[in-house]
């Protein structure tokens, strides 16, 4: 399926999948990240139950240096 992640069009090579599978695909499952799906923040406990659909818009953010 095709996903829009952080404004970039990315092909996720699965017909079906949830957030955790996507993070594994992106090699981010061990990272401290926060995920927003179509404008809704997804809690960590829901990563393995929240299914993705074609054309979903996803934001993956993290903590960076700042004052």
């Amino acid at each position: 399926m095709k996903l829009i992640i952080n404004g970039e069009s990315i092909v996720f090579p699965e017909q079906q999948g949830h957030i955790y599978q996507l993070l594994c695909h992106l090699q981010m499952e061990q990272r401290i990240v926060i995920v927003e799906l179509n404008g809704n923040i997804i809690s960590k406990s829901a990563y393995e139950t929240t299914l993705l659909s074609d054309e979903d818009r996803i934001e993956i953010v993290h903590f960076v240096g700042g004052g």
Partner: protein
């Protein structure tokens, strides 16, 4: 016995809050954080680079039992944007405090008071520990503390300028009326600026560029640690009143003639 810093439910020994932006490298940053003895570190929330998932991240290299995270809402220019960033930060399940930073002007980076107030209102309702970054506006500080914020963070001078305390008089008004901690945030350039803010009675100082941009950030981090300590001790000790003319320290009697 030094008094601790209390922000909402949290208690801290250190009164120096350190930003994590613009350090030359992670090694210098780790050492600077260590010698600063800070217990509160600020961070920004930004998009992950999905094409470089293995890029190193400073936060992930920290012992998170040792530090309390204070994410900011930098990048927001409206209350709604700030609230969104705050919610993202909280969803990390690593923090409950938020530095509300809603910038109203790109050139001076001065905060927008109305948007800041609105953001604080929403975030307090949602149970955040709310620390708004504000200019040295005495009335806004009072209105925010009446709203229920957990600390106010007036700037000493514009972010990153290193101009020091431009209006110590207004800062002292804010401190005088405060019922919540006053954290002087932004514009600190030198250890004497930090010490001066603490001598005025500020409860803490938040700085970033003064350390990260110094020629030797580790040494400056240590200098700031001492400056904040010295300023606080001096404030608690109570300074002498200023006099126009001299008064001798040595006895006037018994001078051998």
């Amino acid at each position: 016995m030094k008094s601790p810093l209390r922000i909402g439910p949290h208690t801290f020994e250190s009164r120096l809050l350190l930003g994590t932006g613009k350090f030359p490298d992670f090694d210098i940053q780790r050492k600077a954080v260590e010698v600063s003895k800070t217990e509160i570190l600020t961070f920004a929330i930004r998009r992950m680079n999905v094409f470089e998932p293995t890029q190193p991240n400073f936060l992930e290299s920290l012992d998170l039992n040792k530090y309390t995270l204070l994410p900011n809402t930098a990048g927001a220019s409206t209350a709604e944007e700030a609230v969104r960033i705050a919610r993202l930060a909280k969803a990390s399940e690593l923090c409950d405090m938020i530095k509300v930073e809603v910038i109203g002007d790109a050139k001076t980076l001065l905060p927008d008071p109305l948007e800041t107030y609105r953001a604080c209102e929403i975030l307090l309702d949602e149970g955040f520990i709310v620390l708004p970054y504000i200019s040295d506006d005495v009335i806004l500080a009072r209105r925010l503390q009446e709203l229920g914020v957990h600390a106010v963070m007036p700037g000493a001078s514009p972010i990153g300028t290193g101009l020091g305390l431009l209006n110590p008089h207004h800062l002292s008004f804010i401190i005088e009326q405060a019922t919540v901690p006053v954290i002087v945030d932004a514009g600190i350039g030198t250890p004497s600026d930090a010490a001066k803010a603490m001598e005025l009675g500020a409860d803490a100082v938040l700085l970033n560029t003064a350390v990260s941009g110094a020629k030797d950030p580790v040494k400056m981090a240590e200098a700031m640690m001492w400056a904040v300590e010295a300023g606080r001790l001096g404030y608690e000790a109570g300074r002498i009143p200023m006099k126009r003319y001299a008064s001798a320290s040595s006895p006037l009697e018994g001078i051998p003639t």
